[in-house]
């Protein structure tokens, strides 16, 4: 009898605990709705026009930034870190850079997204503003739901035909594995545009323990304390770097909590209607909708990004630490991105993933760190190695590289032998020929 009581008590406790950790009904409903939406979008082919406008900085902000740079450069000059010529070069470069920020810059591109049932193929021109290096390049990317991006090599493009760019990339295979938030094609915050343009479920990117959901009528409001910023994962806290104590902006907005909010409309098949980024620095609104069968697609999306400037004030050094005093914070609209839906249709051609990425193809994997250049090259065996396996492969390849470099170093020492041999033999032949010539012409 006692045993039965113990068993029943344990069963009930487990049941209660399980109920306690289950996601709330709202979250569950939202998860289901967003998953269904993603599944439907994986059958669609869409074309989008992306227009990025970088708005000019106010004159007072430019002057303040230039002043700060000049002070810093002069300080480095006084410390002997820069010579006169270098100081002038840096200042000239900074002034030139500031000059470009006085005018509005615009970039435009066309992007095609093909849902293939279990992955998306995105192709098009890389959208850049100003005289960026990538301006005349097109690329193809394979995006796996809630997972990595596999990119092709960037291809040069004839500029006046940029609008047709996506169709030129049909046979380009993909060979670079990138982290989820590193794509060349998705403009601005890549994770956000994945959600907006691919119909990807945003809950892929936010662990449930950081998420809360409110239901207001037909709308769901999804808050997360976990998000992607430039394009690193951040949680709970705004990523303020203590390593830049002299950055006035960073000091003034330090220690702010992190929260992003998605507004989801269940009457429009769980479409995202609005997004508010970290501290409201990023606001996305869908201004127009298009109905395709039972699906609702955003026909016009406007992404506004705000920047915080410190205007006025001066730098003071106290106990060896530099502070900015007397400045005021000004928030301004820095970038406006308008994305318009050009066409939508069911995907008519089916491309198997193995055709995009055949087994045995060489891959360069950047998932260990794009900026740190921790790249791993391997042959695709039909599955991607986990991050742990990738790390092991990296260590192994580094060891191999070290031994190859040692070998190369030896060979580099001796590579001059062939040219030197040719020169020596050539000179010997020349001297011999000259001697014969002199002998032949000698009257004795």
């Amino acid at each position: 009898m006692r045993l039965w009581i113990v068993i029943i008590s344990i069963t009930l406790s487990v049941q209660l605990l399980a109920q306690g950790s289950a996601p709330p009904a709202e979250l569950k409903a939202l998860q289901q709705g967003l998953t269904q939406r993603e599944r439907d979008w994986l059958q669609l082919t869409t074309r989008w026009r992306v227009r990025i406008e970088v708005l000019p900085k106010p004159q007072e902000v430019i002057e303040a930034e230039l002043k700060a740079i000049e002070q810093d450069v002069k300080r480095r000059f006084q410390r002997g870190e820069l010579n006169q010529q270098q100081m002038e070069q840096v200042l000239q470069h900074a002034r030139k850079g500031m000059f470009t920020q006085r005018k509005k810059e615009v970039g435009e591109s066309i992007l095609k997204v093909e849902g293939q049932g279990d992955y998306w193929i995105a192709s098009g021109q890389i959208c850049t503003v100003g005289n960026a290096e990538n301006k005349a390049l097109v690329i193809k990317e394979v995006l796996l739901p809630g997972s990595y991006v596999i990119s092709s090599l960037k291809q040069p493009i004839e500029t006046q035909h940029a609008s047709k760019a996506p169709d030129w990339l049909d046979s380009t295979r993909v060979q670079f594995v990138m982290p989820e938030a590193r794509t060349f094609l998705m403009p601005r915050n890549p994770i956000l545009t994945r959600v907006l343009l691919l119909g990807e479920n945003p809950l892929h990117w936010m662990p449930s323990e950081f998420v809360s959901v409110q239901k207001q009528g037909a709308a769901y409001i999804l808050h997360s304390r976990y998000w992607y910023h430039n394009p690193e994962r951040v949680k709970e806290q705004w990523p303020v770097g203590r390593e830049v104590p002299n950055d006035p902006t960073q000091q003034l907005i330090a220690n702010m909590g992190l929260k992003v909010t998605f507004y989801v409309d269940s009457t429009r098949q769980f479409a995202i209607t609005r997004f508010e980024g970290i501290q409201g620095d990023e606001v996305v609104e869908v201004n127009r909708w298009y109905r395709f069968g039972s699906l609702w697609l955003p026909a016009k999306i406007v992404i506004q990004e705000f920047e915080t400037d410190v205007v006025g004030g001066e730098e003071v050094i106290r106990d060896g630490i530099r502070y900015w005093q007397g400045g005021r914070i000004a928030r301004r609209l820095a970038t406006r991105t308008t994305i318009e839906l050009l066409s939508v249709d069911w995907t008519r051609r089916s491309i198997a993933f193995k055709d995009m990425l055949p087994a045995d193809q060489s891959l360069v994997d950047y998932r260990l760190g794009v900026d740190t250049h921790r790249t791993v090259t391997y042959r695709y065996s039909g599955r991607f190695p986990s991050l742990k396996e990738l790390s092991e492969l990296y260590q192994q390849q580094q060891r191999q590289l070290a031994s190859t470099q040692a070998g190369n170093g030896w060979a580099t020492k001796w590579v001059w032998l062939v040219p030197a041999l040719l020169i020596t033999v050539g000179l010997l032949w020349f001297l011999r020929t000259q001697r014969h010539f002199i002998k032949r012409n000698d009257p004795r």
Binding site: T159, R379, L422, V425, G426, W429
Partner: protein
């Protein structure tokens, strides 16, 4: 220093100031051939086995500067003192050329033996390159094939028909690659060929065939001409070259003995043209090795072009190789040959250099 020394030796060889000793030359030929064979094998193996690409890239970096010079020396020696070796080398290079050109044609027809990372397209048309890595490389190879075909077409035996076929085939390949540098080179060579044809009737047929094939290709695939017109309409590849060339003078003034490898660490980006960014064979020599090798290369190519003209004005069938020299010397104004193409290209120039010149020789049609 080494490159300047080697170029100086080439000038002396061309001027007839060097008479090679037989045994020394045999040893040199053996060493150079081993280097060439190793490079050709590695070039193709690395296409299939990508894991050796880093080692191959290192090898290319180490030998690239002097490889065409070594090929020049090798064929020059073969032509002058070892005809048997020359025949073997010609056979090998001929086989390589034919294989490469056939694969370019197969690629144009939609079949690529193995995929390469870079895909070259123009308005939906896939520019073929076959076993090679780029249409530029394929265009240069086709120019060598064209010169060879022209030479055979000027003979009076069975080679005449094979030569005509090879001339037409290579012309079609030059067209299909849509490589403007190869087109330009071929265009100037054809003008040279027409001038030679005024004195020697045998040139008319192969030169006429070249023009005819080009016209047929233009009708069948007019997109090629759009690419040529496009050069004046903001083509990024043209702009890249112009930007690269603009910075060469500044770079050479600052680094007259060649740009050091570690330059990027000490110079702000964008102010100078680094080796590899000029996309011009001659300027690349200047950037990598300095002004002196550039001047010496200029002297060698002036002498080679003068030789090409001399061969043509005398009505010799060897003028076909001279026209090939004109075509390739012009084409490399807009590109630099890959490590594989450097070998037959250097060989072609070496062969033209080694051709006997007798100032008092009467005009003749040479029966080989």
């Amino acid at each position: 220093m080494l490159i300047s020394g080697m170029l100086l030796i080439l000038i002396l060889m061309h001027r007839g100031k060097i008479s090679p000793a037989f045994v020394d030359a045999q040893i040199i030929l053996l060493i150079l051939n081993l280097v060439f064979i190793a490079i050709i094998i590695l070039y193709f193996v690395s296409r299939v086995e990508h894991s050796i690409l880093p080692q191959f890239a290192w090898l290319v970096e180490a030998v690239y500067g002097w490889l065409w010079i070594a090929a020049f020396v090798s064929v020059w020696l073969g032509t002058r003192i070892n005809r048997r070796w020359l025949r073997i080398a010609q056979g090998t290079i001929g086989l390589l050329l034919l294989t490469v050109l056939i694969t370019v044609l197969l690629h144009a027809a939609g079949y690529l033996p193995y995929p390469w990372v870079q895909v070259y397209t123009f308005r939906g048309y896939h520019r073929p390159h076959g076993l090679l890595t780029s249409p530029l490389e394929a265009g240069l190879m086709a120019l060598i094939g064209w010169a060879w075909g022209l030479y055979w077409a000027l003979q009076s035996d069975f080679r005449r028909f094979a030569g005509l076929f090879l001339t037409g085939f290579s012309t079609a390949i030059v067209y299909l690659t849509l490589s403007r540098s190869a087109w330009f080179g071929l265009g100037l060579a054809v003008i040279g060929g027409l001038l030679f044809a005024l004195h020697q009737k045998r040139f008319w047929l192969p030169i006429g065939l070249t023009i005819g094939i080009f016209i047929v290709c233009s009708i069948e695939l007019p997109i090629g001409w759009q690419r040529s017109i496009y050069a004046a309409q903001g083509d990024p590849s043209v702009l890249t070259r112009l930007t690269g060339w603009q910075g060469v003078a500044t770079t050479l003034l600052r680094y007259p003995f060649g740009v050091p490898d570690q330059l990027s660490a000490i110079e702000p980006p964008g102010t100078l043209t680094l080796p590899g960014a000029a996309l011009n064979f001659y300027l690349e020599i200047a950037l990598a090795f300095g002004i002196v090798p550039l001047l010496l290369t200029g002297i060698i190519f002036s002498m080679l072009l003068a030789r090409a003209w001399w061969l043509g004005s005398r009505g010799l069938p060897e003028a076909a190789w001279g026209l090939g020299t004109i075509a390739t010397a012009v084409a490399v104004l807009f590109t630099y040959p890959s490590v594989l193409v450097s070998i037959p290209l250097g060989g072609l120039w070496g062969m033209v250099s080694a051709m006997e010149v007798k100032p008092d020789a009467p005009p003749r049609l040479y029966h080989d």
